[in-house]
């Protein structure tokens, strides 16, 4: 088991390195840099001005060198100009003596995630706060989604082909067919707009960042959960129907155990092994939903930051965000694998 986790961690690091390099490559293509220079400087810059601005900011170095500096395995660039020395590892121009005292390496490995040009703040602070907000959203999503999905799946799979099964299965198919931007829009239309007039909830979750309550937070949570819910419910249903036809269930029935007892004590445990992996693998999908819902409901979390960073080619923030999301994706895969082994006695003991 230890070796397994170690190997997976190794693969995870290699994957993260490859992915960040791809992001680095795409964000550092010349047209993107040109756009960056023009948004930072002014839009009427001549080509020479763009080049000199990029050169002054160390953006014209070869790609592997820049990537190495961002990682922290190569020393950050320094450049001596008329008003002192500028460099990657400190802000503004400084006299040569002070600049020499600054650290030479500043990258991810040194804990320096860089500086966001759009938010005018350190990337690590931005990611920290935004991730906290999204964590809150995700927590409530899981609280709502997992129990209801399992309940729907178990109820539907308990008696295959019954009316309950048919109606609950239809419901789960409809939810998997409704992407967040459709369900979110429909919810906003029905529950918040003045055109329908129900006005039960708020159409924006901006106030939920500080003070989340039912009125301003339920719709975004519901929107994300619904899309994932159907899939988990269908998996649970499939695994439940399979368990319900097993020999030991028939034995229990013939012994005269009551139906609720069979479901609760005999079937449920074995039926919940498969959905566990599905739930964990669902987390990366939720990340997608988070981006859409945060944009739709104007909730300024991680997904919103992603959209802002990507829309404005904020290179270092984008890299930070991709590192975090890659780690989240791979970590959930690891947990799902480990958990599957742990939950399933047939694998654990052999």
């Amino acid at each position: 088991m230890g070796l397994f986790i170690l190997r997976r961690t190794g693969v995870m690091i290699v994957t993260a390195l490859c992915l960040t390099f791809i992001v680095f490559f795409l964000t550092n293509l010349y047209p993107n840099l040109e756009k960056l220079a023009k948004t930072q400087g002014n839009f009427r810059m001549s080509d020479e001005a763009v080049t000199s601005w990029l050169d002054a900011n160390g953006l014209l170095q070869p790609l592997p060198v820049k990537y190495g500096q961002w990682l922290g395995v190569l020393p950050g660039w320094t450049r001596s100009g008329e008003d002192g020395v500028t460099g990657r590892c400190f802000i503004g121009a400084k006299p040569a003596s002070e600049a020499a005292a600054e650290p030479r390496y500043c990258g991810i490995l040194q804990g320096d995630w860089g500086y966001s040009r759009v938010f005018k703040d350190d990337v690590s602070t931005i990611i920290g706060t935004r991730l906290g907000l999204t964590g809150k959203l995700m927590f409530w999503v899981l609280v709502l989604m997992v129990p209801s999905a399992l309940l729907i799946g178990v109820l539907a799979g308990m008696r295959e082909g019954s009316v309950t099964d048919r109606s609950l299965s239809t419901f789960s198919i409809i939810t998997t067919a409704t992407p967040e931007y459709v369900s979110g829009v429909i919810f906003i239309a029905i529950f918040t707009s003045s055109a329908v007039g129900l006005k039960w909830f708020k159409g924006t979750a901006a106030s939920a960042m500080k003070d989340a309550n039912f009125e301003n937070f339920f719709l975004p949570v519901l929107t994300i959960s619904l899309y994932g819910m159907g899939y988990i419910a269908r998996m649970t249903r499939a695994s439940m129907t399979e368990v319900m036809t097993a020999q030991y269930i028939r034995t229990a029935r013939l012994k005269g155990v009551s139906f609720p007892n069979i479901v609760m004590k005999h079937a449920l445990r074995n039926a919940l092994i498969a959905p566990f992996t599905v739930i964990m693998l669902q987390v990366p999908w939720l990340l997608n939903g988070v981006v859409i819902v945060e944009t739709l409901f104007n909730y300024k979390g991680f997904g919103w930051a992603l959209v802002q960073a990507a829309g404005n080619n904020d290179i270092e923030l984008l890299l930070g965000i991709s590192v975090v999301s890659v780690v989240v994706v791979l970590l959930t895969q690891l947990i799902s694998d480990v958990g599957y082994v742990y939950l399933n006695p047939r694998i654990r003991i052999s």
Binding site: L26, I173, I188, A189, V291, V329
Partner: protein
Amino acid sequence: MEPLTTSEIILRVLYQFTPVWIALVIVFAASIAFKRRLGLYGKLFDSPVGMIGFALVMFWVFTGIFGAMDLIVTHDPLAQVSGMKNKPPGTPLRSPGDGEYAWYLLGGDNLARDVFSRMVKGAWIVVQIAPLATMFAFMVGITLGLPAGFYGGRLDTALSFLANLILAFPVILLFYLLVTPEIIATGVPNYMATVLFVFPIVFAAVLLNSRFYTQPRFRTPLLIGVLGVMTWLYLSLISTGGYLVNTPAVSIPALPEILDLFDVSGGILVVFVSVVFVNSPTVFRIVRGLAMDIKTRDYVAAAQTRGEGPWYIMLWEILPNARGPLIVDFCLRIGYTTILLGTLGFFGLGLESESPDWGSTINEGRRLLSRYLHPVLPPALALLSMVLGLNLLADGLREESLKD
């Protein structure tokens, strides 16, 4: 003129769809009459779920096709009519010209365009791109997944690593990185298209060669014919204005303009490429898993004993036996691709902002959502019903293919 009442709107909308109804009735009558002779497709008409799904899907397919032929639409989806801004459904035009439809059936949007016509035209964009993109993704996934599952070993490790790499990317981040005007200017999508669109040719070449290589007299002309046509299509697809990539830095000449059959605009191409790119690794994983499972069967061992080559076994023994799950996944994946196209539109990526596709329309309408619902709901419900239809269709197919 008076505005239309709700029932009049419904009747008139249903009337506008007349060609679709006729086409649907013909398809269903023909299919049910001959369903015993139509294999899996015919069996679909034994399951009510499958039939509902098929009806929904075909409804939008016909809507797309007839919409593109200007049969259903009432107005030009891009034309702005004065005085119709944000008007509710059933509002009459102020001064309709001769032969012009006198009402906006589902109202006008923020720029005074007809919501109904835009929704119909939006169906055409989805019907054009989604199945084709899914098909390309399947070609890539099958061509790489079969050998990975069949041979295993290093090849499998390397390809699986690549697939997991793409899967670990948040889809929206990938879209934001790939589908921007700046990236289009560097020609990255063209390079990706060049690589991704080769796979159907490779697939066809290996498929035919492995089957007919014992009859060289038949195989050689067949291969020359098929590959010639496919290569021509491929070159027309990837070259624009005589160039593969034409940026200030690099320009690679490709097919001359005289031979170029059709041009795909940069926006559509990049959307297409990124959707294929996102879908392929999942298909790869499914095909790989199926190949690993099926290669242990007796009929594969029998083929090996017969002395068949590996590619024959993969493409003519394993692939046909994996068709059930693959067909089901194909339906589900078209639905997922539709959702992805909507996502792109929702973030305003790729297609031009005035394009009538459903995602962009939802994105435009959501800003005024608290006051005007009618521009947003039709495309939202259209997308929902189309994806739902595909899911139901997949369910029906799965049920029917498990029966035997």
